[in-house]
Amino acid sequence: MSDLRELYQEVIFDHYKTPRNCHVLDCANHQADGYNPLCGDQVTVYLKVENGVIEDLSFKGTGCAISTASASLMTEALKGKKIAEVEHLFEDFHQMVTAPDTTPHPELGKLEALAGVREFPARVKCATLAWHTLQAALKNQKKQISTE
């Protein structure tokens, strides 16, 4: 049960049931669609980038508790961040949800709530879908990105 409690933390449920920044962003100048064909999860990420800084971002989509909470937490974490920082954060985040070691990642702040995913390899794609979609949005990739 401890693994499950670690995965389904209070903060995950909070962001699943009341996702933050979950709307279309009218002033967005970047956006991309992400899709996980294994489970049908879909997410669209909207960004307003000015002078290399993410001034605002949001998402819309349907997904499981992990993918929804991850998208919600991501939008909170990245508001006001420089593009250059985003890449580093994603690297750290990806390492946290995939690496076997349990080194703390204080730089990730609230995103650490998703650390429990590392015990559930089948769910890593749920946690990273929004991030991959964000990267596609930054590159202005038109084609829907897929976890597969």
Binding site: M1, D3, L4, L7, Y8, F13, K17, L38, C39, G40, D41, Q42, T62, G63, C64, A65, I66, F120, A122, R123, C126
Partner: protein, 430 residues
């Protein structure tokens, strides 16, 4: 071979896993001891394997047949004069005979070994349908097909200009016969329907489907991937033109399956693939194709798999498909009754004629989350769209959680499923 001809064993004779003994009134068919994998534990909990619609577990006799083949027989078929080659050929052809008898085909020539139902359907699409289709011709499928009975037809439509038409299903997930009768038209060249929906568990009245199609001179392919292990299949009684199934869904290894086709149709079809074994003679000017069924079996086949499939069919026949169906019906009814009592649970697929599959959603809880928590309790189910995305679209959902039953499941395992679902509720509704 640890095969048991007793249809219902006394519960005391069932496996060493005490938690999984059947409840009163529920027999276990065959023996759980016949399936070594059922002794596995998942995170310290007994495995409760309810993902049988994805693939079934294999009895010891099937495992032994594969090992025995590679230990004592391994050689290429239809080629050598040496003893092993003859032995391999005999065993491979004996397996074909077992399939023929299992589905009551008229001749061994009507049984083509393929990788599985998917390849069987692609073979019919490319070798039967494609040469006959003209722009504007129609292929008729149903709204509850697996992707493997949709995509091969879309491909052949793209190649020929033919049109794919789809028979609707009602809110219970039942095949709408009126829609079918309406869509079966003068341009319909083939009907391809599932016998048993993998996403909903609905049984399609294929006898009536075939009768109506034949009345208008239209051939019918039945996708039996799900049905083969749950419903007795008699291709001559059905009078279907093609019947496709996979071995791994009926306790046989993966990578082997069969296509049944009426000899007259198969005989007139061009080969699906070219290569060794499917030829009679080859020169650079001209190749003569082999006779049925070898014309459709290019290259060295999955010999061990075929032998494993034959053994699996022996195993199922010894128990009896009727007894298996009755046992699974009991499990499905028991599970349906208990599931219906769970607040927020909606069963997706409530056809009057159903078999072995319980697909459901829980309000506000994604199927993947259900799957993860159930797995933590040792309960293996499928979560997602089940390779039937149009079915999910029909019901306006992204996916379902699906429990599916096999001959070795017990009522106690259904209880374990229900208890695990309570755990999902406990975690999500806190």
């Amino acid at each position: 071979m640890n095969m048991n001809a007793n249809i219902l064993r006394h519960p005391a004779a069932v496996g060493p896993t005490p938690e999984l003994k059947p409840g009163p009134g529920a027999g276990v068919i065959g023996s759980r001891n016949d399936f070594p994998i059922l002794q596995e534990t998942i995170g310290g909990k007994p495995l409760v394997y309810l993902d049988n619609a994805a693939t079934t577990q294999k009895p010891q006799c099937v495992l032994a047949a594969e090992v025995a083949y590679y230990s004592h027989t391994n050689a290429n078929v239809h080629r050598g004069v040496h003893t092993l080659s003859q032995r391999a050929t005999d065993d491979y052809e004996a397996a074909r005979g077992k399939i023929q008898r299992f589905i009551n085909a008229a001749s061994h020539k009507e049984i083509i070994f393929v990788r599985g139902a998917t390849e069987a359907i692609n073979l019919v699409a490319q070798s039967f349908a494609r040469p006959r289709l003209a722009p504007g011709d129609e292929i008729l499928i149903s709204a509850m097909e697996h992707h493997s009975n949709i995509v091969p037809w879309q491909m052949v439509c793209a190649q020929t200009g033919a049109i794919l038409r789809v028979v609707s299903i009602n809110d219970s997930g039942e095949f709408e016969f009126d829609s079918y009768a309406r869509l079966l038209g003068p341009r319909t060249r083939l009907v391809a329907v599932t016998h048993l929906s993998n996403a909903l568990g609905s049984i399609v009245p294929v006898e009536r489907v075939i009768e109506l199609a034949h009345g208008r001179g239209v051939p019918v392919l039945v996708d039996g991937a799900q049905a083969i292990s749950h419903i007795g299949v008699d291709v001559r009684a059905l009078d279907c033109d093609f019947y496709a199934f996979s071995g791994h869904k009926i306790y046989a290894p993966t990578g082997i399956g069969a296509l049944y086709g009426k000899a007259a149709l198969l005989g007139a079809m061009p080969p699906y693939q070219g290569g060794g074994d499917m030829i009679r003679s080859v020169t650079f000017e001209k190749t003569e194709y082999n006779e049925l069924p070898y014309k459709f079996e290019a290259g060295t086949p999955n010999i061990a798999g075929a032998i494993g499939l034959g053994t699996a069919l022996d195993y199922v026949s010894a128990i009896g498909i009727t007894a298996i169906a009755a046992h699974e019906r009991d499990l499905l009814e028991y599970a349906t009754g208990l599931a219906a009592g769970i607040a927020g649970l909606t069963i997706v697929g409530t056809a009057r004629e159903k078999a072995s599959i319980l697909s459901f959603t829980l309000d506000g809880i994604h199927p993947h989350d259900i799957g993860t928590i159930l797995d933590h309790e040792g309960v293996a189910i499928r979560a997602g769209h089940h390779c039937a995305m149009p079915v999910m679209q029909r019901f306006g959902i992204a996916g379902t959680a699906r429990a599916s039953f096999a001959l070795y499941n017990t009522r106690a395992e259904v209880d374990a499923l229900i208890a695990a679902l309570a755990k999902v509720e406990e975690i999500f509704r806190r």
